[in-house]
Each structure stands twice: as C-alpha cells, then as structure tokens.
C-alpha cells in the first residue's frame, strides 16, 4: 500500500470492522436525527438518550463508508457520559481538526499535542484532511449529532 496509510489507519479500520454503539434506541425516550451525504448516498442515524443534559446512551444506525462509520463510532465513545456542553466542545475541536488545511497539519498537530489525548482515537482521522471529498464522510455523524443538540437547545 502506498500513501493510504494516513487515511486508513489501523484504529479507523478497527472502528469500521467493529463499530461501537451500533444499533437503534426506541424513540421516545431517545431523540433521533438522520443525516445524508448526497455525494455517495450514505446515511447515518444518531439516537441519543439524555438525562439532565447528560448523554446516557447513544447509538448509530444507517450505513456508509469506512471513514463515516469509523468517525461516528469514535464519536459515540467520545461523547458518551458527557454533558451536551462538553460534547459540543469536543465537536468544536474535531471540526477544527477537520478544517485545518493540509499545510497547517503540522501546527494543528502541535496544538493537539498541547492537549494530549483530548480527542483520543479521533485524532486518527486527521489524515482525512488530505482527501477533501472524504471530510464530508468524517463529519456526517457529527453534523447529525449536532442536529440533536440544536433540537434540544431550541
């Protein structure tokens, strides 16, 4: 394999092969939002059960490519048990990583280094930035989760 190591890191392939928190939750009590990637036909469903604004349970349904599935799987691990505000904060940092230009990757790396393990497994997705079409795949689950935050807050 040449050059794809940055994209298809072992952690990513692991989350793709054995996705965490995959499945559905009954609505209600769960809140569900669905997101689409019109480019490739992928769709993702995010189910969340909240208690006092704390994410008690989260599940991912739908189907998609390795990047969208792995990213959604990692997302569930990174927000489970967190408050919505904390989850939002993780999302902001993830978005920032995804929007860093390829040339800024090194500086992005150093700023991430300052907050070690802040994004955990998610940092493996950094390589996606080099493949602009795939950024939409990586953010699909997150944007769908963001719709849930919006619906709760409004």
């Amino acid at each position: 394999m040449t050059g794809l190591e940055d994209l298809y890191k072992e952690v990513i392939l692991d989350h793709y092969r054995s996705p965490r928190n995959k499945g559905e939750l009954p609505t209600p009590p769960a809140i569900m939002e669905e997101g689409f990637n019109p480019l490739c036909g992928d769709d993702v469903k995010v189910y969340v059960i909240l208690e006092d604004k704390v994410i008690k349970e989260i599940r991912i349904g739908g189907q998609g490519c390795s990047i969208s599935q792995a990213s959604a799987s990692m997302m569930t691990e990174s927000v489970l048990g967190k408050t919505l505000d904390e989850a939002k904060e993780v999302f902001e940092r993830f978005k920032k990583m995804m929007s860093s230009h390829e040339n800024d990757l090194n500086s992005a790396e150093s700023s991430l280094d300052e907050t070690p393990s802040s994004l955990g497994d998610l940092e493996a997705l950094k390589g996606v930035v080099k493949y602009p079409v795939r950024i939409k795949c990586a953010t699909l689950g997150w944007n769908t989760f963001d719709q849930i935050i919006d619906s709760v807050e409004n």
Partner: protein
C-alpha cells in the same frame, strides 16, 4: 464507410490528458460515462477559434463574424447528419442534455399536458430525466408511472400495454449510465406511438458509443451532451421532430430567439433559433463539431465493436479472478450492455474502493450515479462504476483488477 483499423494504443496518444500520472502512476481513466476525455483536435480547434475567428454569431456583417456563424451552422449540419435527422432545423443547441430535457418539459409538456395525463418513465432513468417530470407533476395533477426492471437491470416489458394506458409521454434512456443496460428503444417508441404518446429518448450514453439514427428509431425527441462524446462541456443537443418543434412555444426568451420585438410584444424566430436564446456557446459548438468528425473518422460501428470486445474481456477476467467476491451488476451478456461496469466488491464500500483505486491512478466513480430510484430497486446504496471508451484497452482492466485486489488487502 470503410471499416477503420481500431487501435486503442494509437487513439490513446491523441488524448493529452491520458499522458499524465496520478499518485505517481500512469492514469487509467475509467469514468467516461461521467465525461469523456478530449482529443487534441478538439482542444486545439477551440483554442484556434478564440485566436482567429472569435466574434458573435448571426449578427455582424464582417468577415470573422461570418466565419464564426458558418462554423456554428456547419456543426448543426454535422449533428443532423450524425443522427440522421430530417432537417438541420431540428437540431437545437443547449447547454447539456439536462437543459434539453427541461426544454421539452417547459415548452412541450407545459403547453400540451393537462390534469389527469400520465408520463411513463423507465426505472433506469438518470435524475435528469426524472426530476423535470416530478417538477411538472408537483405543479399539475400529472401522474408519473414507472416501467419496472428485472433482477439483472433490464426493463421488464411484460405489462407495457397496461402501463401505457393514458400515457402522453414516454421517457426512456437508450443506455443506463448506472448499469450499462441497452434498452429496446425502437420497440418502446412503437408501443408509445400506438397509444398516441410521444417518446423522449435520453441518448447521453448511446451517442458516444454506437450509431444513432433518429429516423430509424422513430422517436420524437432525443437529448444528449457533447462532453460525453469527446466534445467540450457546455454544449448539448435537443433533437425534435420538425412538426412538433414548430408548434412548441419558446422556452427561454431574449436575443437570437426573436424575429421582431416591439414595445407591445415579440415574434419568435424560426427553428432552430426560436429555442436558442442569447449568445450560444460558440467555441463549444465548434468543439462538438470536431468531436463528431473525430468519432466518424474512427467509425461508430468500430467503436461499438471495440467496446463490446473489451466489455466481454472485463466480464470474463474479473469473474475468473474474483469469483463471487465481485458482483458486476446489470445484464450479463455483453450484447445487452455498454461498457459500463457497476461493481460491488465484497463488503468494501464503493467510496473506499474508489479511494484505493485512485492511489493506483485508476479513476472510477463511486456512488448512486444520479440514479437513486434505480439503486433503491436494485437494493444498492452505491456501487463503484468503471466505464470504458475508445481509448481504453485490456491493460486498463488489468490495472483495475490489481487495484481492486489491493483494496481487498486493506479491508481484509
């Protein structure tokens, strides 16, 4: 026309883009169903137009304006001969096939169809030949009905007489861009005419690959795009039967499409200019003309023969090499299909498959190919589509196969 000797190696050299590399590998371009590459003749002629005769058409009475006008009208005659139509007045230049279909929808359908009428679509249509009709049916009480497909992606015509009841317009693609299925268009046109319906044929995936004869086909409208047949983007064609076009109101209004304008109103121009509002894409029209000459020089029969042979090779070789791990959707007999290979490889997502292929310089398209209703019927979310053209040969298929194999290793 005498049969030319077909050599993809020679043809490849006439396409400058195919000399480049991608990710340090020679490019293997397998996405001609999306858009074809352009031969040097087309590129240079368009450049020359801007360098030597650029002027607006149908307006100036000076030398270069006359030259530009003549080139545009010469291309119209070329298209007329290429599809064997009755008259060059039947050739309308549009921006692409999508605009051509919308022209029929806005001008013909909106002036002819009323509440209760039915439009029959094949289940193999591209969104371009679906959405304009859905837009119409959201404005009026017009029913959209679908011709079903068999499991291998061919039209199921068992109940066609029943389906055609009350139909005013049948819309069918000559060849499916998602599966490669070649449809029995002539038979469908006859069936449509029997119930008094018109037939619009989406010829996007047929004009680049085999002979088009609208007189033999008997259709009422055909639409196609220049960019899939060695021509530039920005130019498409609507062909319609003269007596139908004559009775249609103009679509877009503006310059070119009028004979006279007063403060009280306008008189529409004659055909074909009645449907060509504004300054046309002159360089693109000229480029299309060169592309048609280029294809004719090779010979449409020779092109079809080459693609069919290559498709047979691909079906056989991929099947031998990957067995049940690789599904090639659509008809299994190469006679029933064009050079479109819609692939599912194990459970590797098409997006991932195409990403790995790209690493090896192989360009294929992953997704729903603008055919979401069809994909749903086939039980698919997406496929990876490799599509062949004149410049492809067996070595391209071999590289494709090797790259698929590499994807298998990553997603083992």
């Amino acid at each position: 026309m005498s049969k030319s000797i077909f050599d993809p190696q020679v043809i490849k050299k006439e396409f400058p883009l195919l000399e480049r590399s991608v990710n340090d590998n020679p490019i293997v371009y397998l996405d001609s169903a999306a858009t074809s590459q352009k031969p040097i003749e087309v590129i240079e002629r368009m450049n020359d137009y801007y360098k030597e005769i650029n002027a607006n058409v149908h307006r100036g009475a000076y030398h270069i304006a006359e030259l530009a006008t003549e080139e545009v009208e010469e291309t119209r005659r070329k298209v007329h001969r290429f599809i064997n139509s009755n008259s060059e007045k039947e050739i309308i230049f549009t921006k692409n096939a999508t605009e051509a279909i919308n022209l029929v929808s806005y001008s013909w359908a909106r002036s002819q169809l009323t509440d209760g009428d039915v439009i029959l679509l094949s289940s193999l249509e591209h969104h371009s030949n679906i959405v304009p009709w859905q837009q119409l049916s959201s404005e009026r009480d017009i029913e959209i009905r679908w011709i079903p497909i068999t499991h291998d992606g061919q039209l199921d015509l068992d109940n066609i007489d029943e389906l055609l009841k009350g139909v005013k317009l049948l819309c069918v693609t000559a060849v499916s861009n998602a599966l490669g299925t070649i449809n029995p268009v002539k038979k469908l046109v006859e069936a449509a005419h029997k119930v008094g319906a018109l037939c619009l044929v989406d010829a996007c995936q047929s004009t680049p690959h085999f002979e088009t004869d609208v007189t033999d086909l008997g259709a009422d409208f055909i639409a196609f795009s220049g960019h899939k047949m060695c021509g530039p983007t920005g130019i498409g064609v609507l062909w319609g039967r003269l007596e139908i076009l004559e009775n249609m109101p103009p679509f877009l209004g503006g310059g070119e499409m009028i004979l006279n304008v007063t403060s009280d109103g306008f008189t529409a121009n004659e055909l074909p200019w009645k449907f060509e509002a504004g300054t046309p894409p002159i360089a693109e029209i000229i480029g299309l003309g060169v592309a048609i000459s280029y294809l004719e020089k090779i010979g449409m029969g020779a092109i079809r023969e080459h693609e069919q042979k290559l498709t047979s090779y691909a079906l056989q070789m991929l099947n031998d090499r990957f067995g049940n791990d690789l599904i090639i959707h659509g008809p299994q007999n190469p006679i029933d299909r064009s050079g479109v290979l819609s692939l599912s490889y194990r459970d590797v997502h098409p997006h991932d498959l195409s990403q790995v292929l790209d690493q090896y310089g192989v360009c294929v398209r992953a997704g729903h190919h603008c055919c979401k209703p069809l994909m749903k019927l086939m039980g698919l979310n997406a496929t990876a589509r490799a599509s062949l053209y004149i410049y492809n040969d067996e070595s391209d298929i071999d590289v494709l196969a090797d790259a698929i194999n590499e994807a298998g290793k990553i997603f083992a």
